[in-house]
């Protein structure tokens, strides 16, 4: 030992040695890139407010790749095990990494940077949540030779304000998803005044903006807006603030916060009167609504461009012959097919499908700084399970949206689709533009205006 130590007396010091070892690792990594495969990275949330939907995210991606590129899940009972195979026009699909995000943008940037720059992803799918997507769209702007498609994030700013030319979103934003709810509240439920509570971040603001814009457009008045921070665990102070002298309350508290909020509300104001509540997509998301109390039975909820009970061949095919075919289970929610209509399963699925269509259009060739692929993606039209999806000039989906109602079936809470609005654009009938203030605690203002779909919502046929 003594001899060994002496022999190192004037050798490389600890710091130099550490860096030299790292250098070898770095050089090894640098030489590992390959050109022929299509290298795809996925950005999911495995922790934070939406961490419980991680497997749904990955199920959506892998089901689309399995259905349209010949890939196959490694384990039909656990999407997180990944896939084998898959190719587009002879270009093999390679999932290079799956990022483990939470709901915060800082981590999303770090993970995306790791996957793009270290794992050499050509294309990124994701992220899940609003502020993550705003940050990644900004990152995309800095990396024009890479292509990014959204996962399930619904912040408006991502495509309306950032407008990265290489970021594509085949799902709606939070405001689009709530089309029809304001009209429903005012003209069907008779609400004249409403309070709004929403998570204090980009998606919560966008989701609330959709309800506020439409409710005010048809003559309603939003008299209170409360925005608790995302990841709040004790909602008692926010629940107590909420006015009870309003006709109804719109709730856009999501993820792990919804149940604690509802409990806090009941503690503060007594049992919930479901006719005086409308929730956003989280109230009807498979994997989440099952945990709600039957007290909310009868409440209306916004969708995410999804309607799991739609009585169409396309919707049934998607649930049973795509998601249900490739996966038996999506943990922790259980059987896979009933989770097909989840915002997260569907969001990642529809975005991956859009990407595949773009790749097929360029025959899997992503050369030329991916400009041909990006051009092709902008023109993709998807005849999806819940209607046609196409992109606007900011590469944001124009889609049919749905709203649902909770009801009790065999003593358990169930969801029934009760309305749909076709062709909803991100401008929300001219309400939002690149120059209007981004949704926030005070935006949009409560203004009466005409919206093209008001009074024209249809009731789709559903499976009883």
């Amino acid at each position: 030992m003594r001899i060994l130590l002496r022999s190192r007396r004037l050798g490389l010091p600890l710091v130099g040695l550490a860096i030299a070892v790292a250098a070898l690792t770095g050089v090894a990594n640098a030489s590992s890139s390959a050109a022929t495969p299509i290298r795809i990275g996925v950005m999911s949330d495995c922790k934070g407010a939406f961490g419980s939907f991680d497997a749904q995210d990955q199920a959506g991606v892998y089901a689309a790749l399995s259905e349209y590129t010949g890939a196959k899940p490694k384990d039909p009972n656990d999407p997180r095990k990944g896939i084998t195979g898959g190719a587009i026009n002879g270009h093999p699909i390679k999932i290079v990494a799956v990022g483990c995000g939470s709901d915060n943008a800082d981590l999303a940037i770090k993970e995306t940077r790791r996957i793009v720059e270290q794992n050499k992803a050509d294309i990124m799918i994701g992220p899940l949540s609003g502020d993550e997507s705003v940050a990644i769209a900004n990152y995309a702007k800095q990396h024009p030779t890479k292509t990014f498609v959204d996962g399930a994030a619904g912040a408006q700013d991502t495509t309306l304000k950032v407008r990265a030319p290489n970021f594509f979103r085949f799902n709606g934003d939070g405001a689009q998803w709530n089309a029809g709810l304001g009209d429903l509240a005012h003209n069907k439920l008779g609400w004249k005044t409403a309070a709004v509570i929403a998570d204090n971040y980009s998606f919560g603001w966008t989701s609330a903006a959709g309800f506020i814009a439409e409710f005010c457009a048809v003559g309603g008045n939003v008299t209170q807006r409360v925005f608790p921070p995302l990841n709040t665990t004790d909602y008692s102070t926010y629940a107590q603030q909420l006015k009870t002298d309003v006709d109804g309350t719109f709730v856009a508290v999501g993820g792990s916060g919804l149940i604690p909020f509802l409990k806090a509300y009941e503690q503060a104001h007594g049992k919930i009167d479901s006719k005086k509540f409308i929730g956003n997509l989280f109230w009807g998301t498979p994997g989440e609504f099952e945990s709600l109390s039957t007290d909310v039975s009868g409440a209306y909820v916004g969708g995410a461009g999804t309607a799991g009970d739609l009585n169409t061949a396309a919707a049934k095919h998607y649930a049973n012959n795509v998601i249900g075919k490739w996966f038996k289970q999506i943990p922790p929610g259980g059987a896979a097919a009933p989770q097909a209509a989840s915002t997260f399963t569907f969001g990642y699925y529809i975005n991956t499908w859009g990407l595949i269509k773009g790749l097929q259009a360029v025959k899997g060739d992503i050369a030329g700084g991916q400009k041909p692929l990006q051009k092709a993606l902008a023109k993709v039209v998807i005849n999806g399970p819940y209607g046609v999806v196409k992109l606007d000039a900011n590469r944001q989906a124009i889609l049919t949206t749905f709203y649902q109602q909770l009801y009790t079936k065999d003593g358990k809470l169930a969801v029934k689709t009760v309305g749909s609005v076709p062709g909803v654009t991100q401008t929300f009938g001219g309400t939002f533009s690149t120059s209007t203030p981004a949704p926030g605690p005070t935006a949009p203002t409560c203004t009466k205006r005409k919206l093209p779909w008001v009074g024209k919502e249809t009731v789709p046929k559903v499976v009883s």
Partner: protein, 344 residues
């Protein structure tokens, strides 16, 4: 340089500097632009903590808050069409504002905390950090949960894609300047008085030194350095949000300083290197996967248990065993107040 001046420390320093200068030739682009740049900027922030700890006897958890304040100030001042104030000013004005706000708030923090020592000082600085985190999380006029995105460096640095190495070399140059500045300050009368205050504040007070003022100024100076790290961080990350300065980040910076060695400035960059590399690569190992945070914690725990004086302590001990010299400083934890300062 005479033969007597060729010490293992200097050989090591020269080797590290040479490798750092040649890094773009030796390492992959990802290593340079993502990992090593991060090492340098985290090293700067951790060095500000190490300076306070080693030379003023103050272990601060507020350094992260200070770099956040600088970063948010720059982000609000320079971005447009995003969240925050959307001022869209010149990036260099943003730099000046970042340094001013960061340093100014550090002076305020320092003035409030300067009469506390040991664990009480640590708790007060933790409070500052939490306040800053909650402030930026809840005041949507300057940030909100989503923070400020799309922060671009000045045109002299350029976009991340086109100029991968520029920010790295700027971070390297600033690291060197910060290191030399700390070395210089510790040898000035102010620095020597600070060390006197660290060892025996009562005696220094009896000799006529204004202990609280010295501590406040030291905190302000460390805040200035931390603000430099904050500016580099937002240039590098292009984004800052409250999670960039949450408790986890405070603990990370403290862990970096402790791993490197809380009594030697060089340890800050060494600790940052180990932390960044481990953090980056552990989660790519399939059987660790999402559990990487736990494994990182265990590795850090092991390092601290094996060597309370961190990796620099191991280096010192190795040299001691080789008979070159005895370990400096003894690796005494600055968290433990001396009998003198415990009475303050």
């Amino acid at each position: 340089m005479s033969v007597r001046q060729v010490t293992p420390d200097r050989v090591a320093g020269a080797a590290v500097l040479a490798i750092a200068l040649l890094a773009p030739l030796l390492f992959s682009a990802y290593w340079v632009s993502a990992l090593l740049t991060q090492v340098l900027l985290l090293g700067i922030i951790a060095a500000s903590l190490t300076f306070l700890s080693a030379f003023a006897g103050m272990v601060s958890l507020a350094q992260v808050a200070v770099y956040g304040i600088a970063g948010f100030a720059l982000g609000n001042a320079t971005t447009t069409n995003t969240k925050g104030l959307d001022l869209g000013w010149n990036p260099w004005i943003g730099v000046v504002l970042g340094l001013l706000f960061g340093t100014g708030m550090a002076l305020v923090f320092g003035a409030l905390a300067c009469r506390s020592v040991g664990i009480y000082f640590l708790m007060i600085t933790l409070t500052f950090g939490v306040i800053a985190n909650l402030f930026f999380g809840q005041v949507t006029q300057v940030s909100g949960f989503g923070g400020i995105s799309g922060i671009s460096p000045p045109s002299i640095i350029g976009s991340a894609d086109a100029n991968k190495n520029k920010l790295y070399y700027i971070a390297l140059a600033l690291s060197l300047i910060v290191y030399l500045l700390f070395k210089y300050v510790t040898r000035t009368p102010f620095g020597l008085a600070l060390q006197g205050i660290r060892d025996d504040p009562l005696r220094m007070s009896s000799l006529g030194y204004h202990v609280a003022l010295h501590r406040t100024l030291a905190f302000g100076f460390a805040g200035f350095i931390s603000s430099i790290g904050g500016i580099l961080f937002v240039w590098w990350n292009g984004h800052i949000d409250p999670s960039s300065i949450d408790i986890g980040q405070m603990v990370d910076v403290l862990a970096i300083a402790v791993i490197g060695g809380l009594y030697r400035l060089e340890g800050a960059w060494l600790g940052a290197f180990v932390y960044v590399v481990i953090n980056n690569y552990l989660q790519t190992i399939s059987f660790i996967g999402p559990r990487f945070d736990t494994v990182v914690g265990l590795i850090f725990l092991t390092i601290v248990l094996v060597s309370p004086a961190g990796l620099m302590g191991i280096w010192e001990r190795a040299l001691g065993l080789l008979g070159r010299r005895k370990p400096e400083g003894g690796g005494t934890s600055p968290l433990a107040p001396t009998p003198a300062n415990a009475d303050l």
